[in-house]
Structure formats: C-alpha cells, structure tokens
C-alpha cells in the first residue's frame, strides 16, 4: 500500500547514512498511526538531520540552527490538534539549541523531539559535535575533542522529562515502536536516535553500535526515575536502547489557563466571524 507520507524528491544524504532508516521509520510510524499528512508538522533546524522534513509529505517549518524546539512548542500551542515533531541533529538540538532543549522540558509541551545523534557535525563536514566522545579526532579537533560529551538522556531525566527514549537507526522495526509511543505520548517526548554517519564518524559505526546496543527488557520499569537515570549513564561497553523513562504529568497546554479555557488561535477565524455575525444582525 502506498504510504501517504511518501514524497519523491532527491535526497542529499550520503549512501548508507543512518538518516535514511530514520526517515523510513518515521514515515511508517506516521502512516501506521493513521495520521494524514495535513495533521503533521515537522519543525527542523540546520544540519543533515534537519533536511528530513523536505523528504516526506507533511507540513514543514525549517528555521534556524538550534531553534526548532521553540517553534514546535509555539505551533502546538497555537493549534493543539496538530501532531508536532521537532526533528534535527545533535549539534542543532544539544549544541546551539541546548538552552531551548533544557527549558522546553521544564514546560512539558506536547511535542515529540527526535534527535538524529551521529556524534559529529555532518553538514559542515566532520567536526566534533556536542555528543562526540572525548578524544574524538576531527579535522578541527586534531588532537581529539577536549570536552566531555553531552548526555541528553541523563539531562532529560534529571529535568523530569515526560518521556525519554533511545533508538537505533540500524533497527527500523524497534525504532518505529519507540516513535509510535513517543508521538502518541501526551507531553514532551525525547527520542535520541543513534545514527551512524558513514562519512565523518569512523568510530561510532553500525558495527560499533551493534556490538554494544541492547534493549531494556520487560522487567525494566520505566516509571522509576532513579533507575532510569542510572541506565542513562550506561555507555561504552553496553548501550541500552528503548524507553528509559515515562512520567505522565500535565502538559503545558493543559496547565496554561489561556490554552485550556480560551479559544486557541485555531478558533480565531471562527470567533471573528461570530462577532461579525452578531454585530451585523443590527443592520439587518
């Protein structure tokens, strides 16, 4: 069956890039959740991952580097009927957009944040990114990155993010399951996706991830925040995948009085028409 989210366009990623799998997983997820393309908005920033909205049939907002989350938050606030996904790379979300990432979690808007985490800057061709391992050698960090990597999961759990998960671009089926739960989850949902960059990251390859990645088993309790934090620290020999943490709490849209009680922007046009109709009846 045709996927309504399919779009034929030239794709400017390297052959073998992990982004292809994420694109496929996302399209299937949206289709299997029975959404229509007009109901979905993809907001992205700048980077290789940020090109993703151009490659599927959805509403697109492609803004500036690092700024996808505030835009996604506002889109959702204005029109809560939309499925709003902010999607970009680790440089965009955790580096230049790091401040937005931290503070969006505090507000808990009902959006999904998908981060293609390839541990390198792909678009600008191979510099160390916020998630690069310490010592990662690049053309700029020739003696290895001096900074400790940003741990998005630990930070999200520490901030009590509503939904925190990690997927792997090398496993589309499992990634789809995670994306389905994240997108339908009411509240801020982070999906950090390990995405091999075949061109600029020769360390964290498909094989490297496959040798280390494992899924959290059924015994694992994603409601336990302390356990989740502990799991989020696990990296190296073993890398856990799956849903680390889930905590249902009021979303920004549910908490903010104006968004609960007053008409959203969504209804503005109708409201204006109603007022006009009311005023006009005096002239009839």
């Amino acid at each position: 069956m045709d996927n309504p989210f399919d779009l034929s366009s030239d794709i400017a990623w390297c052959p073998g890039c992990g982004n292809f799998a994420i694109l496929k997983a996302l399209k299937s997820t949206l289709s299997e959740l029975n959404y229509e393309p007009h109901e979905v908005v993809l907001v992205s920033g700048i980077g290789q991952a940020a090109k993703i909205p151009h490659y599927l049939r959805v509403n697109v907002f492609n803004g500036l580097h690092g700024r996808s989350i505030p835009v996604a938050f506002a889109v959702k606030s204005a029109n809560p009927r939309l499925v709003v996904i902010a999607e970009s790379g680790d440089g965009c979300m955790y580096g230049e957009g790091g401040n937005h990432f931290v503070h969006a979690i505090r507000r808990n808007p009902d959006i999904t944040v998908i981060v293609h985490n390839n541990q390198v800057y792909g678009l600008t061709k191979g510099q160390a990114s916020p998630t690069s391992e310490e010592g990662f050698v690049s053309k700029v960090q020739t003696l290895g990155s001096l900074s400790a990597p940003f741990n998005p999961l630990s930070i999200a759990i520490a901030q009590d993010a509503s939904f925190v998960a990690r997927g792997f671009a090398g496993d589309i089926e499992k990634l789809k399951e995670i994306l389905k739960q994240a997108i339908t989850w009411p509240g801020f949902a982070l999906v950090d996706v390990l995405q091999p960059c075949v061109t600029f990251n020769r360390v964290n390859t498909y094989t490297w991830y496959r040798e280390r990645a494992y899924y959290l088993d059924v015994q694992y309790d994603p409601e336990d925040r302390v356990k989740a934090f502990e799991k989020s620290l696990e990296w190296g020999e073993k890398i856990p995948l799956g849903i680390f943490y889930r905590h249902r709490k009021p979303t920004y849209q549910e908490k903010f009085y104006a968004l609960v009680s007053y008409p959203h922007l969504l209804y503005r046009e109708r409201a204006v028409e109603e007022v006009l109709d009311r005023e006009l009846q005096y002239f009839q």
Binding site: I46, N62, G63, L64, H65, G66, G95, E96, G98, Y121, L123, T124, K125, Q127, A128, P130, K139, V140, Q141, T142, L143, S145, S147
Partner: protein, 400 residues
C-alpha cells in the same frame, strides 16, 4: 617559487578561505574561537591543521555557537590576547549583541566574514546582508575583491585594530564561495615579514595585569553612556589616517598598496559604477568593454565601508555626471540599499551632484555578469541624457 616584484614571498594556489587561514597562521594569534558555518568552515579547519602541526601557538577554542565564539573572543581580548575569529551569515547574526560589546570595550578583535545571505529562506551563497546588517555595530569593515585582498586585508586588519589611535575590532569580508572557494594565485609574504609588520602585541588595560586591576562593561546609564558613545564615534572616525598609513606601509613590504577606496579608469569618467567585493573584478571588465566602445566610464570600489570615507567619496564622485550604485543587500523599506543611501547622503551638499541610481543584485548568490554592469552604466548614461530619474531602484539579474 616566483619572486614578487623583487620582494620576498611566494605565489601559492589558494582559495579565499585558505588565504585567510594562511595569513592567520603567519599572524599567530593567541586565541581563535570559532564555530563551523558554511562557507567559512574551510578557513577555520585549515587553521586547525596549523594548530595540530604545531605551526602556531594559538589557543584554539571550539564552542557550541557563534554567540559563544564572540563571547570567548571578547574574554580573551579583554584578558590581553591577540584574538581572531571567522564566521558567516547567521553566525554573524547570532553574534550581534556581542559585536557591540567588543566594539564598546574597544577590543581589537579581527574577524573574517565569509559573506553569505541571511536566512530565510535558507541560502548558503553570497550576498552582503550579513555584513551590512552589522554595519552599525562599531566595527571597522574592510571588503575584499579577491583572495589576494582577503589575505592582505587580514594582515592589515591586525595592525589597524591594535593601533592605539584605533583600538577597535575589524571585520574583513570576502564573498562566500565566489572568493572563499575559488582557487587563485595568491602572493604570500614571508612569515618573518608578517610578524615584523604586525609586531608584538601590546595589550592596553588587560585583565591579566593583576597589578593594575580594571573593570570591563559595568553599568553605564544616562549619566555617562552617551559620552562613552560619543568617544566611540570619535574613535571610529579617527581611523581613516591609520587605515591609510597601514595600507601604505603594507605596500612597501608587498608591492600592493591599499587605500580606503580604489578607483579604476575614473579620472575622466562621466559615468561611474560603485561596488564592493568580488563584483569589482567583473565591473572592471565591463568598464574596459564600454571604454572600447568610446564610453567614458569608470569604477569606484569601496574597500573601507566602515568608517564610511565620505570625503574621499565626494572627491571621487562629485565631478561625474552619473553614478550607478550596486547593492548586494537590501535595507527593507529603506530608500535603496545601504551603499546607495550612504553615497546619496554624502553627496547631498555637493554644489553640483551627479545623478545617482541604485541596483539590487546578486542576492543569495545570484551571479552578476559583465553585461549586467554594462546595462547599469548605460542606464545611468540614459538618465543623465534625459536629465531626470524615472526609477531610482533597479534590479540586475532578477527574473520578473
């Protein structure tokens, strides 16, 4: 290696980014802080290679955004370091508030800007919207026509910025991709000569001088802020003699003398095109072709846009009959582009003014051709012959 006009140095095949990185290597600054952005990345990456090869002593700081890059530069410069950076487009825009801090604190930071169109929509190619947007930030702005000038300007910028009469940050621009990624023959100076030219850095009021504690950037309200801005106005206005002197001194060591402006076949020209950056090379060809047809045309190239060399521009343009200004950026809602506005304002009090019209061109990297510039020159000729301007603002290379 070819000798350059009997002077030392060699000729290398370098693109604009590589030429600037090479100059940075020869300058050997204390600190460089930068964030990658197309089309500048290539420059900083090449500099990083020099760092890893141990060819420079620079502390090379990688950061998470351009805002942090400029902040790190400011901190390092206030501490007393010789500091450089490079950026483009939205990277420069993200530095915005820090640009003002750098100039207000009179920190002689040198920055290469690879000119690129500002979003939106996203575009990675050349126009001057980034630099022109920063024209009021208190930085000196030097434009380059080619990789050679980018190289030469960066070296001069250090000496200009650090001159005690100046003590202001300097932005050196080169057109994104057109210059930054096109390999040209670049005559480079010997390392020793560059070192001798820029000299040892003597910081003024460094934070690291613990025996003379200083404060940078405290609260400055209606009591003194205005006076401080007045002194900043005076500082940048006083830069002209220094920029010229450094340009002359550079000529002595390189054979390439620089001034605030460059004129091309202007002496007897009746019609003049005014441009900045790489377009000046194209304009020279247009002038040559029209001269062959007997048209008295010339080019005025603005190298130093900030401070704006009003007196020199009046001198160069007042005797002309018509001026066609080329603007590679838009001041939305304004009367023409930034170059046009400045030039008209400068000529306002001249007893006999030429007709002046403006052309927007090359936004988002749209190519400009020799024929486009010929068209602009023929149009201003037409205006002069008719004795009136029907249309002040035109477009070159636009589909509509």
């Amino acid at each position: 290696m070819a000798k350059v006009m009997g002077l030392t140095g060699k000729v290398m095949g370098l693109n604009g980014n590589a030429a600037v990185a090479y100059a940075m290597k020869q300058i050997n600054p204390d600190v460089i802080a930068a964030y990658p952005i197309t089309p500048q990345t290539d420059c900083v990456e090449r500099f990083a290679e020099y760092v890893s090869e141990g060819l420079v002593n620079t502390q090379f700081v990688t950061v998470e955004s351009e805002h942090s890059a400029m902040s790190a530069c400011i901190g390092a410069a206030a501490a007393g370091g010789r500091v450089m950076t490079a950026t483009a487009a939205n990277g420069l825009a993200l530095m915005w508030e820090m640009l003002y801090i750098a100039s207000s604190m009179r920190l002689p930071i040198v920055m290469m800007v690879t000119n690129r169109a500002l979003s939106g929509n996203i575009n990675i190619h050349c126009d001057h919207s980034d630099t022109m947007g920063a024209r009021d930030a208190g930085w000196i702005q030097l434009f380059s026509e080619n990789a050679q000038e980018a190289y030469d300007n960066i070296i001069q910028a250090v000496k200009i910025a650090e001159d005690l009469e100046v003590r202001l940050p300097v932005m050196v621009t080169q057109d994104g991709f057109i210059i930054s990624h096109a390999v040209e023959q670049v005559k480079v100076l010997d390392d020793d000569l560059v070192q001798e030219f820029v000299g040892a850095y003597k910081p003024a009021y460094p934070l690291l001088d613990v025996t003379h504690p200083v404060t940078y950037g405290p609260l400055d309200l209606f009591d003194y802020y205005f006076e401080h801005k007045r002194s900043q106005i005076e500082a940048i206005d006083n830069c002209f003699p220094v920029i010229r002197r450094v340009g002359e001194e550079f000529g002595k060591i390189s054979g390439r003398k620089y001034d605030l402006l460059e004129t091309y076949k202007l002496e007897d020209a009746e019609y003049v095109v005014v441009a900045l950056g790489s377009t000046c090379g194209t304009a020279k060809e247009a002038v040559n072709l029209l001269r062959e047809k007997g048209k008295k045309v010339g080019l005025l190239k603005i190298r130093c846009f900030r401070p704006f060399p009003k007196e020199e521009i009046i001198k160069a343009l007042v005797p002309r009959r018509g001026v066609a200004v080329l603007d590679r950026s838009v001041s939305f809602g304004g009367f023409g582009g930034p170059v046009f506005t400045e030039i008209r304002s400068a000529l306002c009090d001249a007893p006999a003014r030429p007709f002046i019209i403006d052309f927007f061109y090359g936004l988002g990297g749209r190519d400009i051709y020799v024929e486009d510039i010929e068209k602009a020159l023929l149009q201003i000729e037409d205006v002069v012959q008719k004795g009136q301007v029907d249309q002040y603002i035109g477009y070159l290379g636009l589909r509509e």
